[in-house]
């Protein structure tokens, strides 16, 4: 059986080279589009997750929470903040530090104000909370809101800010990008299943006589279908591998061009091609898609017995 499958595959490529090549080109093009979107999506997510890294929460302190290290209330509050699930680090920022930071950031816009020695920035002291990667990467706005609510009940906490509105918009944007990417991949994948299926159908039509002769000499439907499924698997494997190479070369070309024209973006380190695991999964999915669509279309085969049932009165 295995010998027959391989012999059939070899024969198909030798005697129907034109049809097979056309199918391969169309299929590889479809898969290359999917691969490009996956690469684009992955890089977009990477860039967006860099923004996510800046997620932090500021807990402004009440006036009576004094700044000296011996203040029991301050130490107690810091300990409670550190104990919250998802919190990575808690850093104290005094009034003076907040004022200095403000001056540094705004001096370019209002130099005359900040040159005034007696200028006192109206900022309270605060705790800056940074979060663990898991929470940042997920952009878990619900959990952040929960944490903010929890902290608001702590003694000594005046107000909490973490850019709620911006974060909500950002989370919605990321969710939208992910959903769109998934939908697009599904549409393109269905399209490629259709392409393989159509090509197998064409292949079946072109070899109707051959199939009838196989039936004539006693081939079971599985003996007729499996070589077609193997053809589909092989086409899927070849097309997805070609697609990965095409996308890789296109990606490298674009990255090199960007690196020359926009060197300040650190393109080489930020833009990455799909990882080995993703490439493996992509090729596996492409191969399985080819086999499945061939199996699906080849299921409709049968000329001898069923044909008589159709023609009966």
């Amino acid at each position: 059986m295995n010998q027959m499958l391989w012999a059939n595959l070899k024969r198909t490529w030798t005697h129907h080279f034109g049809t097979q090549m056309t199918t391969l080109i169309v299929l590889a093009a479809s898969y290359a589009i999917i691969c490009s979107f996956l690469t684009l999506g992955q890089n977009l997510r990477n860039i967006l997750s860099l923004w996510g890294d800046s997620i932090q929460m500021t807990v402004f302190l009440k006036e009576e929470t004094k700044e000296d290290s011996g203040n029991e209330k301050l130490t107690q509050l810091k300990t409670r903040l550190q104990a919250i699930n998802g919190v990575d680090d808690v850093k104290y920022v005094s009034k003076q530090e907040a004022a200095e930071k403000f001056k540094m950031e705004m001096s370019g816009f209002m130099p005359e104000v900040f040159q005034d020695e007696e200028f006192i920035a109206p900022f309270p002291s605060s705790f800056i909370i940074s979060f663990k990667d898991q929470l940042k990467q997920k952009i878990d706005t619900l959990r952040l809101a929960e944490i903010a609510k929890q902290i608001s009940g702590f003694e000594g906490a005046e107000d909490i800010a973490y850019g709620q509105d911006w974060l909500n918009n950002y989370a919605s944007f990321i969710k939208g990008i992910n959903s769109m990417g998934l939908a697009l991949v599904l549409v393109l994948l269905s399209g490629s299943v259709f392409v393989v299926g159509t090509s197998i159908k064409t292949s079946i039509s072109a070899r109707r006589d051959e199939i009838e002769i196989m039936e004539l000499v006693g081939a079971t439907s599985q003996m007729i279908r499996w070589p077609l499924v193997v053809e589909g698997l092989f086409l899927g494997l070849l097309a997805s591998t070609v697609a990965v190479f095409l996308t890789f070369f296109a990606f490298t070309f674009v990255r090199e061009s960007m690196a020359t024209q926009a060197f300040f973006l650190a393109v080489q380190s930020q833009f990455q091609f799909l990882s080995g695991l993703y490439v493996f999964l992509f090729i596996s999915t492409g191969t399985i898609c080819g086999g499945l669509s061939a199996f699906f279309f080849a299921r409709k085969l049968n000329h001898g017995w069923l044909a008589s049932q159709r023609s009966e009165v």
Partner: protein, 227 residues
């Protein structure tokens, strides 16, 4: 070996291809089925070879009850018969050797055994030196001999041939008929559908004449019957 009892075959229209058709062919017999176009020869051929089934009635071929065959059993039935067509039905992308070897490959036999059997069969049909050629490189007569070799390679009990000389000239036709005689002499039951009356007259065999889906003449029932 072949038995048809009260067979009716009706196609949409309705077209009554066979009506109350009865036929019995014994093991080792060689029988000509003759009749004009549209008489029901091809329908009979399709029914007996398991490519079609009757609207009603019972058919038994080589010990298989055709009426009760399921879709999955049909291939196994076909492995017990040999079928030859007017248009040869050879695989153009395979060599003579590969075409003849096909039924054995399908049966799952090993290559060494296949090689030996195919070479022997090609020797019988006189195509040993054409084994590596493709059907398109052969003459009509040679192609039909390949088709016969393919039909016989798995040693079926019954050989069914639909107009096997239909595309051949007189000389080649006689060559093919001699080959079929040889097959019959080895014990294979042979059923040949043909409208070539000259050929039929040259061979002293049982002749069944069909018209409008009914047997109008069976030489077996005649006083000076042959075969």
């Amino acid at each position: 070996m072949i038995s048809l009892s009260h067979i009716y075959k009706t196609y949409p229209g309705p077209i009554h291809a066979l009506s109350n058709f009865d036929l019995n062919i014994e093991k080792g017999e060689s029988v000509f089925i003759t009749g004009p176009s549209g008489s029901g020869k091809t329908t009979l051929f399709r029914l007996v070879s398991g490519f079609d089934r009757p609207s009603s009635g019972a058919i038994s071929v080589a010990g298989f009850n055709i009426n009760e065959l399921t879709e999955k059993e049909v291939p196994y039935f076909r492995r017990n018969i040999g079928v030859v067509f007017q248009d040869f039905r050879l695989l153009k992308d395979r060599t003579v050797f590969e075409n003849v070897a096909l039924p054995l490959e399908i049966k799952g036999q090993k290559f060494v055994g296949i090689k030996q059997k195919v070479n022997e069969m090609l020797d019988i049909v006189g195509l040993t030196f054409k084994r590596e050629q493709h059907p398109e490189q052969l003459s009509g007569g040679e192609q039909q001999r390949v088709a016969i070799a393919r039909a016989l390679i798995h040693q079926p009990g019954v050989l069914i041939a639909d107009e096997p000389t239909g595309n051949l000239d007189e000389e080649l036709s006689l060559g093919i008929m001699e080959l079929l005689d040889k097959v019959n002499a080895q014990g294979t039951t042979v059923l040949i559908a043909t409208h070539d009356m000259d050929l039929v007259k040259k061979k002293r065999r049982r002749v069944i004449q069909i018209k409008s889906g009914n047997i109008v003449k069976d030489s077996k029932n005649e006083p000076n019957a042959l075969g």
